[in-house]
């Protein structure tokens, strides 16, 4: 039947008491009662994800600043393509916004950055400058993927909140996120020729927007679910 090594391995696993991490996601078998993750769990996941995204963007941005722009005196005419999305710039404004709008803003922001990040990654890999680009392009790729996941996660959170009656169904942004992107930006992206300066500006803008997302999510969580963590 089973050979000796198999048995040994089985016994080892049993007795060594490997820690088995139980994730918050339930594994539903057929006919079993399934427990979806709670809103708090969803919020924790998206907040962790957004925090990671922000971390990567900060790293990339600082790398670019060291390599290409040692002097801080460079002041470019930096205009992020998401400037048209109105975002609360302080706490009062953010708290005054309400959950639905806040969720919408978040989703808008995340939607606006899907394509540009992919193009950034593509542009970075095509750049034959040095190894720096190779290292950075991996990060850009990772960042791009995470943003996509984050967006789907926040969507789930919004749906959950709607399910729970926390927010109303008066939002229609989920249907077409691509339309949120400002045309000027998308036009420039379509051109497809980015240079290093463009990279740097892009990263600057994204770092800020990821910070906004993270912050808005936290506010959303703490206003929706006031807990000890807040």
């Amino acid at each position: 039947m089973f050979s000796l090594p198999v048995w040994v391995a089985v016994l080892a696993l049993v007795y060594l008491d490997f820690p088995i991490r139980v994730g918050t996601a339930a594994i539903c078998a057929h006919g079993q009662e399934c427990h979806a993750p709670s809103l708090a769990d969803l919020f924790d996941r998206v907040i962790q994800q957004s925090s990671r995204v922000h971390g990567i963007s900060s790293e990339l941005h600082s790398d670019y600043e060291q390599y290409f722009f040692p002097s801080k005196n460079h002041i470019g005419k930096r205009k992020c393509h998401t400037y048209s999305i109105l975002t609360p710039a302080d706490k009062e404004n953010a708290q005054r916004l309400g959950r639905e709008e806040l969720t919408e803003v978040i989703l808008r922001l995340l939607g606006a950055w899907g394509d540009p990040l992919s193009q950034l990654h593509r542009s970075m890999t095509q750049d034959q400058n040095q190894d720096f680009n190779h290292y950075s392009s991996n990060k850009a790729l990772e960042m791009s993927d995470m943003v996509h996941e984050l967006r789907s996660g926040v969507t789930k959170v919004a749906e959950k909140m709607k399910l729970l009656g926390v927010i109303s169904n008066a939002l229609g942004y989920m249907s077409s996120p691509e339309s949120l992107a400002p045309s000027s930006v998308s036009s420039s992206y379509e051109r497809g020729d980015f240079n290093s300066i463009d990279h740097h500006d892009l990263l600057y803008c994204f770092r800020r927007d990821s910070n906004k997302v993270k912050n808005y999510l936290r506010i959303l969580k703490c206003t929706t679910l006031p807990e000890l963590d807040c």
Partner: protein, 648 residues
């Protein structure tokens, strides 16, 4: 408006330049923005460092521009945050907006702009220190621990989620230099374990936003840990006590068995085992004393150093059924004893020549003990004789087996034909034999020599042997009992008593008191021991014969006597023959003296056993129990020679 304001200082500077060329006034130095900080992400403050003022009163102004706007604004508040600072309140603060800030120093002579600085508030957050840091000691099953709790700084709004702080604390013992730091994450409580009993601890906490600057450490909180007994120490103490206990047990056992251990590890070096050897003397270096101690008095024998003494060891007389007298002399006791009479039952090698009828005579020097084997001993028969060892004189530790095994059972009677005569006086004397060279004389009397009724010449032997497990000393003493003291004619019994103490293992043999009853002797000539002279010589004389006293001569009156020594054959046997005279034998000679006085000796006697020779003789006059010499010799040869010396 600002430009108009800005032009005034220029005019003033021109005026002053025109007027005061000789003074050292100059336009101000370049200011420098040192830092901008926001404690709660809602307001922020910028500080600058003024340059040289140029000797003139200088004013500073801070101007900023917001992102994507060309409008220049001046600092709304120069005072709230102190000197050379600019405080931006909530209304003027926008997050996620890039501020371009510049400071201008202006004096009469000119102004100076600082380098612009871009500031985004979200990245310059440095909160205040955490507040309400409390430390308490709590108990656990493992011991006490510290629980540190705190609160976020008052202004930081973490409850709405606007700002997220992570905390860090550090602990150290009072007097130490190194802090022990711990990250607490977003929690506002922390436990510290593994405390020193009775120690005083210092605790501090600080915080940081997820992207920002660390706050300052909070003020130190002191906490004292109460005294407790740590569990690990108690376990170690238990182990130490147990180990000590085991160690003491082992030490005690080792002490008890120290001898065997010492014996095992350090086997003793064999030392000299010479009797009388004194190691101490040797160590002292006096060899003369050491060796003098070894000297055994009496050895080599200086006194009575006659050759005779050495030669005559024992005299064994035995007669077969013909009652012949056989004298045997053995030089060596052992050999003599080894010899058997050749009687069939004589299988004991240790038997002396006296199978129950040997007289043991002690050496003169040490006194003699004659041991007569009583016929009873013969009856004892099987008894193996150690006690015969009386014979063995000379050997301290000689174990003579069946020296005197009586052989009477065979009917062979060995008699001393009138060898012995009652001695007038003979007192037993206990003799101490010392030294290893003691020899005892043996005289064996055969029972048949003496007729029972005529006890005039009845010799009774009382050989008593006291065998004692002694130190190897033999005690021989010769005792004589006079059985007929009153009868002058009667022959006093002469009892030989021999005591011998042997260090013989076979001591168990008791020597039966051998009252040697002499059976009837058909025709006998008796030899009796006349006396023992002062030289411890046994003087024999024929009983019947007239007294003849002649040393060295044996004179027999009427009867025959075998006193004459024919010679010594090769077998070291002294051959006696019937002679009127007997001539002296060996070096020590056989001396005979006969007492002519009315001795009725029924047996003729021959005496003198030379130590080195055997005397074999047949009493001719004695009742015809003559045996051919050869037979005697044979018999003598078969048996053992008693190294009995007889002194006449």
């Amino acid at each position: 408006m600002r430009r108009a304001v800005g032009s005034v200082p220029l005019l003033l500077m021109l005026f002053f330049i025109g007027h005061a060329k000789e003074t050292r006034y100059s336009p101000p130095g370049k200011p420098k923005l040192t830092s901008c900080r926001s404690p709660e992400k809602e307001t922020f403050t910028c500080w600058w460092e003024p340059g040289s003022d140029g000797g003139l009163p200088t004013t500073y102004a801070l101007y900023y521009r917001k992102e994507n706007s060309d409008a220049v604004y001046e600092c709304p508040d120069y005072h709230t945050a102190g000197e050379n600072s600019c405080f931006f309140n909530k209304n003027d603060t926008s997050i996620w907006v890039n501020y371009n800030i510049t400071v201008v120093a202006t004096n009469a002579l000119g102004s100076n702009f600082s380098d612009p600085v871009d500031v985004d508030v979200v990245y310059i957050v440095q909160p205040h220190t955490p507040e309400n840091v409390t430390v308490t000691v709590m108990e656990d099953k493992d011991g006490p621990f510290l629980r540190v709790s705190w609160e976020p700084p008052r202004k930081a709004d973490t409850r709405s989620g606007w700002i997220t702080l992570i905390y860090e604390l550090r602990v150290k013992l009072e007097g130490e230099e190194e802090w022990e730091e711990h990250r607490a994450g977003q929690q506002k409580m922390f436990n510290i374990f593994s405390l020193r009993s009775g120690g005083m601890y210092l605790v501090q906490v600080r915080c940081k936003p997820d992207h920002g600057f660390w706050s300052e450490w909070s003020s130190t909180t002191y906490i004292k840990v109460p005294d407790y007994f740590p569990r690990e120490t108690s376990v170690w103490i238990l182990i130490a006590v147990f180990s000590a206990f085991i160690f003491f047990i082992l030490t005690w056992i080792l002490n008890l068995k120290s001898n065997s251990v010492k014996h095992c590890l350090l086997p003793p070096v064999p030392g000299p085992k010479i009797k009388g050897f004194d190691k101490q003397l040797l160590k002292n270096g006096r060899s003369e004393e050491v060796f003098s101690a070894l000297v055994v008095p009496g050895f080599p024998p200086t006194t009575s150093s006659d050759c005779e003494d050495l030669l005559v060891e024992y005299l064994e007389v035995y007669t077969p059924e013909e009652q012949e007298l056989i004298l045997e002399e053995g030089k060596d006791l052992q050999e003599g004893c080894l010899k058997s009479k050749g009687s069939p039952s004589d299988s004991d090698s240790g038997r002396g020549s006296c199978d129950s009828h040997t007289l043991l005579m002690e050496k003169c020097g040490e006194g003699e003990g004659k041991e007569e084997k009583h016929q009873e001993r013969a009856q004892k028969g099987k008894r193996q004789q150690k006690h015969q060892t009386g014979w063995e004189e000379g050997d301290v530790s000689h174990t003579r087996e069946d020296v005197l095994s009586p052989d009477m059972s065979e009917g062979r009677v060995k008699t001393w034909p009138s060898v012995f005569s009652p001695l007038p006086q003979y007192s037993s004397r206990p003799l101490d034999h010392q030294g290893s060279l003691e020899t005892a004389r043996q005289l064996c009397l055969s029972d048949s020599l003496f007729p029972p009724p005529s006890t005039s010449s009845h010799l009774s032997y009382n050989a008593k042997e006291g065998l004692a497990l002694g130190s190897g000393q033999q005690e021989f003493y010769l005792g004589k009992k006079q059985t007929h003291p009153s009868n002058p004619q009667s022959q006093p019994r002469w009892h030989l008593q021999a005591h011998s103490d042997f260090n013989i293992s076979s001591m168990d043999r008791k020597q039966a008191a051998s009252g040697l009853q002499l059976p009837g002797f058909r025709s006998t000539e008796y030899v009796e021991v006349q006396r023992v002279n002062q030289e411890d010589m046994v003087i024999l004389q024929p009983l019947f014969s007239s007294s003849c006293q002649r040393d060295g001569h044996l004179q027999i009156g009427q009867g025959e006597d075998y006193s004459k020594v024919k010679g010594v054959d090769s077998g070291n046997m002294l051959l006696l023959q019937r002679e009127v005279e007997v001539k002296r034998e060996e070096e020590d000679g056989d001396r005979y003296s006969c007492d002519i006085q009315d001795r009725v000796t029924e047996s003729c006697y021959t005496t003198s056993t030379a130590a080195s020779s055997q005397v074999t003789g047949k009493p001719t006059s004695c009742a015809g129990t003559a045996m051919p010499v050869q037979e005697e010799m044979v018999l003598a040869a078969n048996g053992y020679v008693d190294a009995a010396t007889m002194l006449l």
